[in-house]
């Protein structure tokens, strides 16, 4: 499964290298990596939720609010660490709230997180009151725009998240239990897995990663205004789906999301280099989401027909 997608990456890269001279330059490729890393950071947490057959539609709004709170905190205290902590805390709290709605109040995940999306969106716009916060210390900006050893900083964060997430899903019992829950929640429950506690965990992580992504995004953009996170929901979901994680749960993983993020970024980067109007990007992303989801649904139907 991963192999096929890696081949896709190579083919795409080859096609782009042929059609746009600017593509295979070092600076462009590093840029692609940077963008992909940001998408991956936002999508890493929600990958876990989708693995457990859940959903988190609030990650975009979450990212935006977290970024704004980080910005305000840095301006207020002058300390980067306080800012980052604020952003992370915001994201985590939203994740916990989502988890509570799904596990304790038994609300269906997509409606609950969709409602949360709008609540957070509203709070974000109210809090910012139309203002923009900009101009942050260089050390902070380095997190998003800087390079270490020639590689963009977000790539290190992405790698760290990938490693941590990979360890979680493959090398801890928690990760295996999450897969079990996604594959068959009732069988998992009857096998003694504390399903509600694990769901709480993945929703919290999803929120936390969205918060972290918000901090990094702020560092990259060097300015915060309400709604900066909203356009990231579709790309994050697209990355997860392209990567092969099934919406029905139990199949997929973080490395897939990474490849999905890379593929998506390559497509969008290609569009930029080919001077296609940026306004077409949400459309292309939407189409990719549909394509990936269709493949997922078709595969599931085929599998069900076989077991019937």
């Amino acid at each position: 499964m991963i192999a096929r997608r890696l081949i896709g990456v190579l083919l795409l890269s080859a096609a782009l290298a042929l059609s746009a001279d600017a593509f295979p330059t070092t600076s462009n490729l590093l840029n692609v990596l940077r963008q992909a890393s940001l998408i991956f950071l936002a999508a890493s947490g929600v990958t876990l939720v989708i693995l457990a057959a859940g959903l988190d539609l609030s990650i975009g709004a979450n990212l935006g609010l977290s970024a704004c709170l980080t910005a305000a905190a840095i301006k207020a205290t002058g300390a980067i660490s306080v800012g980052a902590a604020a952003g992370l805390a915001c994201g985590t709290l939203i994740g916990i709230a989502n988890g509570l709605m799904v596990t304790q109040l038994r609300l269906p995940p997509f409606i609950a997180t969709y409602g949360m999306l709008w609540m957070v969106y509203g709070i974000n716009y109210w809090y910012m009151a139309g203002e923009t916060i900009y101009g942050f210390p260089a050390e902070f900006r380095a997190l998003g725009s800087g390079y270490f050893l020639g590689v963009p900083a977000p790539v290190y964060l992405m790698t760290a998240a990938l490693v941590a997430g990979g360890i979680f899903t493959r090398y801890t019992t928690f990760g295996h239990e999450v897969y079990a829950i996604g594959a068959n929640a009732e069988a998992a429950r009857l096998s003694g897995i504390p399903v509600r506690r694990r769901l709480m965990l993945v929703y919290t992580l999803s929120g936390a990663m969205a918060g972290l992504a918000g901090v990094v995004y702020l560092a990259r953009l060097n300015s915060a205004e309400a709604g900066i996170g909203d356009p990231l929901l579709l790309p994050a979901i697209a990355a997860v789906l392209i990567g092969g994680t099934s919406l029905f749960g139990g199949v997929g993983g973080l490395f897939g999301t990474l490849i999905g993020a890379v593929i998506l970024t390559l497509v969008l980067n290609g569009m930029n280099l080919l001077a296609i109007n940026a306004n077409w990007q949400p459309l292309v992303t939407g189409a990719i989401v549909l394509l990936a989801a269709w493949i997922d649904a078709a595969a599931r139907k085929r599998a069900e027909a076989r077991d019937a």
């Binding site: 801890t172 295996h176 079990a180 069988a187």
Partner: protein, 517 residues
Amino acid sequence: MHRLMSSMSSGAVSGQVKSAPTAPLLEMRGISKTFPGVRALDDVSLEAYAGEVHMLLGQNGAGKSTLIKILCGAYRPDRGEFLVDGRPASIASTADARRLGVAVIFQEFSLVPYLDIAQNIFLGREFRSRIPGVIDRGRMHREAQRTLAILGVDLDTRLRIHQLGVAQQQMVEIAKALSQNARILVMDEPTAALSDREIERLFEQIRKLKQEGIAIIYISHRMGEVFALGDRITLLRDGRKVASMRPADTTMDALVRMMAGREVSTTYRRGFCENPGEVAIEARALESANGVRGANLVVRAREIVGLAGLVGAGRTELARALFGADRITGGALRLYGAAVANNPAASVRGGMGLVPENRKAEGLALGRSVQDNILVAGLHRLFPNRWYQFRKAHRAAADLIARLSVATPSPRRLAKFLSGGNQQKVVIGKWFNAGSRVFIFDEPTRGIDVAAKAEIYNIMEKLVADGAAVLVISSELPEIVAVCDRAYVMRDKTIVGELSRAELTEENILKLAMHDG
């Protein structure tokens, strides 16, 4: 002229029921149906006569519902033919079945909760008004009322289904069938959710339907009904027709024995337990959200305790309550002397394992590998510090697969590709891995081939020899008698008796399990 004479002659023989028609209204011949991996029906034949109630008996998995689904056109048989009124008929779709006059009332009613009675009766056959697409509501309600009147039912046809009780909903289903001019009516466990008075009313309806010349195929587990209402009986077991007779020619005991008997178990004998160990499960006056009440039960180490009863007696519900899968609403439950929280995770930690009746939906994640499935309940035990080590996992899984002789080309094979018997072994292996000391088996050998069945008995025997406690639910009397040290019998969601080794015979189980009389 001919009709006049026959009516005169039947009138002359006063007081006698009109003679049975010579040809059956419906004949199903040699019906066979195989699904991947399981032979659901094997050469089953059945005849239904107009004006008669034909009882269809058999345990879960015997093939009754498959037969019904074929009759109503939802499934196509692999082999076999139908004859209606003596003429060959083809049932290739639900429309065909309807045209031939077949109507089925399933246990889960085919009613739309928020539409009213009339709309439900005429679902798909609405009366059109002159404007296309618009329903002639007046006519629909009038026709519905007419049909209800035939059945003697007095309900406002504007009531919505969700406002009706179960018995009333059933009346609507019957009215629906009647309005479709059904000549063959199939009823699946119609009295399962009814009170005694409602059952009486239902029987009245059925007698009315008989008078209208409708052939009724009636599926039931309740012996009392079979003899109160049935004109003919057909018994299915493992997809085959075991017997067909008239109620007058048989007894309740004989029927239950025919449904439950299997050859293999009767030749199986084990060394029974002389000295049971500590008390593993102790339930006192246990009550659960699923209807279990007043359950008093003890299972000790080194014992195989049986839980017998007819379908619907509440055995699975009790097992789920003991395991914490259902909410306990009253009474006390102790696991090895200690109180245990009312959820599966706590029960598993306390050493209990449940092998569910529905192993595919509740026991396994079919899309995951054998290894993942077999380790899933014991992850915490295998890796107490939560770090999953692949080599250790491989070894543990391989070890379990070998110990249980699970036939799989590789531990990485997806569980869905295993045979039923091997899937069951994976579920059992799951509990081995969890270090369970108390095992609850719910119908462990249902739908499993003969050889695998024997293996499962051996596994159970080895478990208790190693000091575990085992509770087995089974609908097969010979199995309970051959395998268990003693058994509890359930009826109506409560435990009505306990039989010691000496008392454990099929007759004694039946006596306790059935409604008296």
